[in-house]
Symmetry: C2
Subunit: 234 residues, 2 copies
Amino acid sequence: MSLPLFFVEILPDGDEYLLTGAEGHHAATVQRLRPGERLLLGDGRGGLAEATVTATGRGVLTLAVGVRRTVPAPVPRLVVAQAIAKGDRGELAVQAMTEVGVDAIVPWEASRSVARWRDDRGAQRWRSTAREAAKQARRSWVPPVGALESTAELARRTPLFVLHEEATARLSTVEIAGDELTLVVGPEGGITPEELGVFTAAGGVAVRLGAEVLRTSTAGVAALAVLSVRLGRW
Amino acid sequence: MSLPLFFVEILPDGDEYLLTGAEGHHAATVQRLRPGERLLLGDGRGGLAEATVTATGRGVLTLAVGVRRTVPAPVPRLVVAQAIAKGDRGELAVQAMTEVGVDAIVPWEASRSVARWRDDRGAQRWRSTAREAAKQARRSWVPPVGALESTAELARRTPLFVLHEEATARLSTVEIAGDELTLVVGPEGGITPEELGVFTAAGGVAVRLGAEVLRTSTAGVAALAVLSVRLGRW
């Protein structure tokens, strides 16, 4: 089994470290790690340090810190612009996309997004979901969740691929180049013809996966799996 | 937009058809289809008939039935043996796997499956989830959900691929042949060494996707996306 991962703000630079707070509670009380067991500390930005438990307390672990290393950021960077969805579908999408390796997430307020975000709490929820999912998936990079973008803002991103069930180009064969790409995933009701027009007028390319109509919480994960194979990550 | 799909037990053989029951309610009252609008009737086993609404009633549509056709079953057949999961994770897995094109689902009672099924209700829930998801995804084939299988029963299936984070073989490059393959997805706590031993002793091959640790509700979907590209479906 790969070692359990716990996130800290800044990696320790000394040989001993006290893991406290929510992560200390999780490690000591929920996962019940014991002296001698090993874990990873991560800063969520590629920095990792191996550590061994030397003592346990109530919600706190004392750790002997060992080898440090830095995992480089993946290239190209896979960004998904995920439409705000109703209920928990947005969080489910963020969770699963983080597991399969999305590099950054941009919330998009689409015309047919039933839910609306009136303040920053929606983005905060997605951030906390991404962090938890990265921890569970043992990812050294936590994908940042950006600020809400409009259709016009998204259209400025290049290259831009728009998942659309009526597209003729396939994501499995479309040409990919550059250090970053953005993939647009529409809301439950779909992307409107007007939105598609704005994206394609700016150079965006409509692409599809198979013949099936995918839910917004499934489409991004499936697309990232396809890209991960194409880019040799998987 | 592709036409909305409604499932019926047996496709009509005449020119006129009354869509009643739950599907009639959904079409007439929820989706509010109107005279002149078109839809598809499906039997969930590849049979499809185009139809046009000619009259509407309370929870019922009168349809003029047009062209019938049969979509052949996909080959090879992609079967996923999905470990029973806690909470709604099993249903989420069945829903998303059906969207991306799984051809059959087998529930598996793994050692680390926290939930247990004492009667047929669990499988019934998965069947109804698969049917709803197939309708939403406009799939002409509803993936059957088989009876619960034990580890020994699963191990008899061939070829058998077991998703495992410590595998060295990659699903993206492993050799695939034959008319059917079964992919095993473990429970939240993972597949035990004993279970993996039973599978590999019987000829099963452990495979992985990337380096990430995937939730049980994400793993099958990601694996099916990889296979869909490899098999030219996507």
